[in-house]
Amino acid sequence: MDQTNEHPNPKKDDQLADFADQVLRGTMNQPASPPTDDLLGLEETILRLNSSFPPTSLDDATVKQMHVRLKARIRREGQAAKPSFWKKWFGREVTPQLGLAFAVLAVLVVMVLTSPSLTPSVPPTTGTASTPISFMVIVGLVAVLFIVYWFTRRK
């Protein structure tokens, strides 16, 4: 349990903060509190943390080497991630769903182009009802366009 929550103690807060400052400055390497004090365990934890991660600074040569490796990685990943044809033209990769929508759209376009209602072979007779298939095709087209729009709106 975190007993410090129940017992606010600004004096101990200050003491521990000062102890941490001294440890990090390198002027303290052993607990400062008497064995009976409950700060002792916390001071030991600070010493443990400090000795496991001794203060180090990256020298210039290491920084430069790491920079070179970072640039090499960026170059490598930049080459690996060249945008595909689809990404280049449509601003997004083609998912299987979007591919299917394109395929359905292509089929419907072919159907529309080859539909008898669009081929002016016979002059229209007065009173003839319009071909039901052309209505279905238009509804289908609208549906497909809606699907494509929906997928492109999604991330």
């Binding site: 349990m1 975190d2 007993q3 410090t4 929550n5 606010p8 600004p10 101990k12 807060d13 200050d14 521990l16 903060a17 941490a20 400052d21 990090l24 365990g41 916390l42 030991e44 934890t45 600070i46 443990r48 943390l49 400090n50 000795s51 496991s52 991660f53 203060p55 180090t56 600074s57 990256l58 920084v63 790491m66 920079h67 490796r69 970072l70 990685r73 960026i74 990943e77």
Partner: protein, 184 residues
């Protein structure tokens, strides 16, 4: 055009460097990198296994490079980069969990390539990393700000918009929580 050939001023602010980079001056990012690498590296070293520290650090800077255009200067660049660092470290652990790898390398891994006292330090480090990782965010953050970034308590108070007393109190609670985790 003339602007881009001017040398960058001596010791420009981070925000000015970001602006230079947005204006197409690649070397501005190099300066930001050199300036912030030590702190980012140190922070990552406290919470990520030794073998992955450089990799995660690289990912942080690649993410910074890719999203720097979204930096609008509402916060300090160092604060923005710290948030990005925490995000990428969290992502690192998410990926590890997804791959069913243990959150931190087992102690045996730490001693596999080392001997004697180095091995003991590495084991202790892995143990502490595990404990730090399991702390609540605000506890972990104050420990990292003081130990990894070497910020003074008054600087931490300013950064977290708290008074000095509250900051020191949080620090004591954080160390107490760390101790509890280490004792488990």
């Amino acid at each position: 055009m003339e602007n881009t050939s001017n040398p960058i001023l001596q010791d420009p602010s981070d925000e000015l460097l970001v602006q230079h980079f947005k204006d197409g001056r690649q070397e501005a990012f190099d300066l930001l990198y050199s300036r912030h690498l030590p702190k980012v590296y140190k922070r990552v070293r406290y919470i990520v296994p030794e073998n992955d520290v450089e990799d995660v650090t690289q990912e942080i800077f690649i993410a910074a490079l890719n999203s720097i255009s979204s930096f609008r200067g509402e916060a300090k660049f160092s604060t923005w980069l710290r948030t990005l660092t925490n995000y990428k470290v969290a992502e690192f652990y998410r990926k590890r969990t997804r791959k069913q790898e243990p959150p931190l390398a087992p102690l045996s891994d730490a001693s596999a390539h080392t001997t004697g006292s180095t091995s003991k330090i590495m084991e202790e480090r892995v143990y502490l990393q595990g404990a730090l990782q399991s702390l609540p965010d605000n506890y972990r953050e104050i420990i990292l700000l003081r130990f990894a970034e070497d910020l003074q308590f008054n600087e931490i108070a300013e950064l977290t918009s708290q008074n000095l007393e509250a900051t020191k109190s949080l620090f004591r609670r954080a160390i107490a929580a760390l101790r509890n985790h280490l004792d488990k």
